[in-house]
């Protein structure tokens, strides 16, 4: 593998998230902005700042657009709209639904983002790190790219799975969560390195740790684990079962990495 590409944070986003392909468009006007728009713009400002710090910067985001089963007409609309909005898209990958996971793997995607949980799960099953792309409450572009990590996943250790069983997760799920922890590592390390290039204040990249179910000790383990991976998060929340939506609504993260842990409702 090209040593340079090791540092590039290749992020794949579905065209259905970048643009709104549903609403009818007149032939001449560009496609409407989708869920991922704010994310891409935030990523671009991170890249800008990284390059400002060092022109020969290799640690950058690279955004790949993924189109599943797109018609030819749509493809050209997508190209044009991307140009219109000045989106820095490294590659346009159009593929069929069946070849979707393969395409992700072939492009050495370090993170696949989608607002569709089904897509996130199939990518994870195929071994591709994937996370949920979040809808911003207001579509205005934020100054910071906000990445949220799950403390329940990262703070998971061999001895700390009891509380997950109490919540109703079965052994298979718990096994999957443990595997998820491994997948997050590479991404977290890259984010950590990027984050370190900026100071405490005025950073275009903002990292958050949220522990929804785990105790404060799980949260402490997660903080130490992330630190060992080279990532010092900016914000940390421990909810002990309190609802996360109100907090998330204030936070407005772009990327939410939880691997389905929070699908569970208490019974």
């Amino acid at each position: 593998m090209d040593p340079q590409s090791d540092c590039t944070l290749v992020t794949a986003v579905s065209c259905h998230d970048i643009f709104d392909l549903q609403t009818g468009q007149s032939d001449s006007s560009p496609l409407a902005k989708g869920t991922a728009f704010a994310f891409i713009k935030a990523v671009q400002s991170v890249n800008e700042r990284l390059v400002k710090l060092s022109e020969k910067q290799t640690l950058l985001f690279e955004v790949i657009l993924l189109g599943k089963d797109c018609e030819e007409q749509a493809k050209s609309k997508i190209f044009d709209s991307a140009k219109y909005y000045d989106l820095e898209i490294g590659k346009f990958c159009f593929c069929s639904k069946e070849k979707f996971e393969r395409t992700l793997q072939e492009n050495h995607v370090k993170l696949f983002l989608s607002s569709d949980r089904d897509d996130v799960h199939s990518a994870l099953k195929a071994g591709v790190p994937a996370a949920l792309l979040c809808q911003q409450a207001d579509q205005q572009v934020q100054n910071q790219l906000k990445v949220l990590f799950s403390g329940d996943l990262i703070g998971l250790t061999e001895d700390s799975t009891e509380y997950l069983k109490d919540l109703g997760f079965n052994d298979v799920q718990i096994h999957n969560f443990k595997a998820a922890k491994g997948r997050i590592q590479e991404f977290a390390m890259l984010i950590g390195e990027m984050r370190r290039r900026f100071g405490c204040e005025d950073s275009p990249l903002h990292t958050i740790l949220m522990t929804v179910w785990g105790s404060r000790d799980i949260c402490a383990t997660a903080l130490k684990t992330l630190r060992a991976w080279g990532l010092d998060v900016d914000e940390a929340f421990c909810l002990a079962g309190a609802p996360c939506t109100p907090i998330l609504t204030v936070l407005q993260p772009h990327i939410l990495w939880d691997d389905g842990l929070h699908n569970l409702k208490e019974t």
Binding site: D17, D118, H206, E235, P243, C244, G260, L264, E266
Partner: protein
């Protein structure tokens, strides 16, 4: 029966049950009860709607839902003593400060001014759980700090060291905590930062700035004692304004004329109300005499005259304090020293400082007209 604190956000609808997903593939379940933040985009499946029940542990509920509990948000700087670290921050900047914190990570902080109050809340919780094991009407303590998450490990180590029951926290890394205070349905916010406290007050959240007493007098470990000033704390500052603008005589006249008009409510009225509701739970189980919560009104008003309006207002609100001390202008310090509250709320820094000097744990509520008149330490006490 559920608490009904004066908060717009409380009282969310209960939700229906939903079993845990069989596999990781249940993609369209939302985070929470309604169109949640990260709710489904893409093919929708009918939602069965989840129910959130507080996590149950042996011996009662330990993690109540925020909307059912009395949420006390406390900042790390008042829960613990962090003067040394503050100094590093002010003198050397944030990066050095964080490095210092990490270096001293395994050294727990010493207790701060809010520590006895928080411990007392925990004892009340223990008694409440004994009597009402199914109830979520408990004190829920959340550590809200705008510290960077780097300090998190040291804070958690400290909480463990002191055996505090705090499992919920927000470390906002410099952003304003006000949004999170609302998300937590906060009933009371205690901080060392007057600006943040003022911001909270303007958003309708009861809040106060706490100060460390120089000498520490012992407070009860079995009974939570909360003392309140009257004007501009429980009541609005309307009468205070008359006094400041027109003097004592006008004040007396005004209060006499308006004896039967209720005073408007102040920022801590809701909190007193909440304490009252918890007290009634103890009375209902025969614990009136040994109730672990005791409230005090400590006012400069006079019992025979201006105090009447205050009492009538409280009564009309359906509120009462266990003791009402009308000082008619006498200094509050000695009285508070006798009471030994875990916290005393006053809007005037003059009184707060006087209390703190005598070892009382006092909290400043920066509300109302008194904030426009900087206090002079040696001024004579005013008789109201």
């Amino acid at each position: 029966m559920s608490l009904d604190p004066v908060q717009v956000m409380k009282g969310q609808d209960p939700m229906a049950l939903s079993p845990p997903p069989a596999s990781n593939g249940d993609s369209k379940v939302s985070w929470d009860e309604k169109e949640g933040f990260c709710d489904s985009v893409g093919p929708k499946k009918p939602k069965s709607g989840p129910v959130r029940r507080a996590r149950k542990v042996e011996g009662g509920i330990f993690f109540p839902k925020p909307e059912n509990a009395v949420t006390i948000a406390v900042s790390s700087r008042v829960l613990f003593r962090t003067e040394k670290e503050q100094k590093v921050f002010e003198e050397k900047g944030v990066e050095e400060y964080l490095k210092y914190q990490v270096e001293h990570e395994n050294e727990p902080f010493a207790p701060g001014p809010a520590f006895p109050f928080i411990k007392a809340l925990e004892s009340v919780n223990t008694r409440l759980r004994e009597l009402y094991p199914e109830s979520e009407e408990l004190f829920d303590i959340v550590l809200v700090t705008y510290n960077h998450a780097n300090v998190g490990v040291r804070l958690i180590n400290t909480i463990n060291h002191h055996n505090l029951f705090i499992e919920r926290f927000c470390m906002t890394g410099g952003s304003s905590p006000i949004g999170y205070l609302k998300a937590w349905h906060t009933n009371l916010y205690l901080s060392a930062d007057a600006e943040k406290v003022q911001e909270a007050l303007s958003e309708g959240i009861a809040a106060a700035t706490m100060f460390m007493p120089e000498k520490q007098i012992e407070v009860s470990e079995t009974q939570l004692r909360v003392a309140f000033d009257g004007d501009a704390v429980l009541f609005s500052d309307e009468s205070e304004r008359i006094f400041k603008a027109h003097g004592l005589d006008k004040f007396f006249e005004h209060e006499r004329e308006n004896e039967n008009t209720l005073l408007d409510h102040g920022p801590l009225k809701g909190f007193l109300e909440t304490l009252g509701k918890l007290q009634k739970k103890f009375y209902a189980k025969g614990h009136r005499l040994d109730c672990p919560i005791r409230t005090y009104l400590v006012t400069a008003r006079s019992a025979a005259s201006s105090g009447i309006r205050a009492l009538k207002t409280l009564r009309a609100w359906g509120l009462e304090t266990d003791e009402a001390l009308f000082l008619a202008g006498a200094p509050k310090g000695p009285m508070l020293e006798k009471i030994r509250p875990h916290i005393y709320f006053d809007d005037q820094m003059f009184h707060v400082e006087g209390a703190v000097e005598m070892g009382t744990i006092a909290a400043h509520v920066p509300y109302g007209i008194a904030q426009k008149y900087p206090h002079k330490k040696k001024s004579t006490n005013s008789a109201k």
